[in-house]
Symmetry: C2
Subunit: 314 residues, 2 copies
């Protein structure tokens, strides 16, 4: 039943809002992204989103609901924004109720990384698993957890923040005063800075723009030693944080998405090695480390899947 | 209904097996501990346990089931021992089936730290909570997790091992090759060694036996500077691991048991401070850090509560 329903997936990012119509594991229609910078505050931006949704509803009259993935803390149960990481002006905003009225559809509001995890769980690499951890690597590092066949949201709906967990109790200070936060080591910018440092140490002349994950991946695949070294270092740090997820949650799979994950073997090879070397046999023998199925579309697909679940359970 | 049932709680430790009859949150009868060293391998030890249980059943004919807490990896669903941490000879042993036959009772077998967590959740400091983390501090460091109102066991029943999580990606190597394992910093012996080191640095003459958690606690409560320093260091390291539990699971409470937790304010004061300083406001404002209700009896009370749950669900 739910498999054959259409829902809107709205992926609200720091720079743009992407809106698509999801059918199972695909976006069958997508509106042009809406740039958040073009609008001053929630109301004009929501006007633009509403206009876009009305067009999509006109083209797809069978849409049953809308899911919205937000970049920050969200009260999932009540659909209220707690606070967004890099977007001011939304604290305390009752997004679900406002959007249900504006869109004339049932709406669910969820953290964006949880949407990604939900997409992988319901439609992607973690399908059918009762216990899994998803992590998304980009400018920031987010995550989502499934345990006992349910999304882990925690008492304030803030769970799953793998990027804020520590790998060094005396390490670099994260956004929230959290010392050694993983994000401070394996976020895109941190990777670039560290790569620049290692290139300089090796006497190789490189600029910051040579040090994107994509370029470092290409260099490593070409056998360049410094690039291989940087990926090994990323892998060691990631392994440390993911090892914690394993000891705490004993998942069947760890699913890795986001831009950095596209490095493929040069990341997954050393990552799996360092991770397995720090687990007991029963964990190690059964753990899968998998690339995410979805890329940029994960947020919208997951948000739409959550909307369908909510409609089916209503 | 289940509140008024009697069950056996069997706490299988590295040195002794303690067997009690649990009624709600109390052990109303306890047999003398059985020393594991007196028996060579599973069969003679199980004979002794069986004799003790028969006596207890004779005195309490209304016992409905037995729960067994084991020090290691257990397949909870099938009641089979995977491997025990410091007790050889049990790998692959089908403990539940063997004990159901021997005791003529329904039996559940669970990891001992999960039993402690279950006791605190069902009968102790975490009663009524849907999301909590329990940690037990002693020679080793164990833990158990409740999420969405259910025990988190994971895909191989190995979840909840807070003591094996890392606080330093390049740190001391734990039992399983896990670098920076919390247990390697805040286990009783590690605390004692570190205290000795700090006393020596301060020019104070102390022996290892002066450095038990109880003595260090008394010294700190008396205002001794070195002892306060060691508790602050323990608190910082614990806070780092518990902060990871918060970012991943967003529990309503963290419940701390085991011998080390008896230090009281000199531990809980700096621990709460260092933990709260590394969390975002929505987490911090709602998180409770609580001492465990149960001490040595936690394992037996939790195992018995699990047995009652299993009987009620059968």
């Amino acid at each position: 039943m739910s498999e054959n329903e259409l829902a809107l997936g709205i992926d609200f990012g720091g720079t743009s809002v992407k809106i698509g119509v999801a059918f199972r594991s695909s976006l069958i229609d997508q509106a042009p992204p809406i740039s958040t910078q073009d609008f001053d505050g929630p109301t004009p931006l929501l006007d633009a989103i509403q206009r876009t949704v009305e067009e999509l509803k006109h083209r797809h009259p069978k849409i049953v609901g809308a899911g919205i993935g937000m970049p920050g803390f969200v009260n999932f149960e009540r659909g209220i924004i707690n606070t967004l990481t890099n977007v001011p002006g939304w604290d305390g905003f009752p997004l679900r109720d406002v959007m249900e009225e504006r869109l004339d559809l049932p709406v669910v509001v969820e953290n964006d990384a949880n949407c990604m995890a939900y997409a992988e769980w319901k439609r992607g690499a973690g399908r059918g698993m009762d216990d899994m951890v998803a992590i998304t690597l980009g400018t920031g590092v987010g995550g989502g957890i499934i345990s006992n066949g349910r999304m882990v949201r925690g008492s304030q709906f803030g769970a799953g923040e793998v990027g804020q967990t520590t790998i060094d109790w005396e390490g670099r200070v994260g956004h929230y005063g959290n010392k050694g936060a993983l994000e401070e080591y394996v976020g895109n910018q941190q990777i670039a800075s560290r790569a620049l440092e290692l290139y300089a140490q090796a006497g190789v002349n490189r600029s910051l723009s040579d040090c994107t994950p994509a370029r470092l991946s290409a260099a490593a695949h070409g056998g360049e030693e410094v690039a291989l070294q940087i990926w090994d270092e990323i892998a060691r740090r990631l392994a440390s944080a993911l090892m914690n997820c394993c000891w705490l949650l004993n998942p069947k799979a760890i699913i890795i998405g986001g831009g950095v994950s596209k490095a493929g073997d040069v990341l997954f090879g050393p990552l799996t090695e360092h991770l397995y070397a720090q687990l007991s046999p029963p964990f190690r023998e059964h753990l899968m480390v998998l690339p995410a199925r979805f890329g940029n579309e994960a947020g919208a697909i997951g948000a739409a899947a959550l909307a369908i679940e909510a409609v089916d359970n209503a």
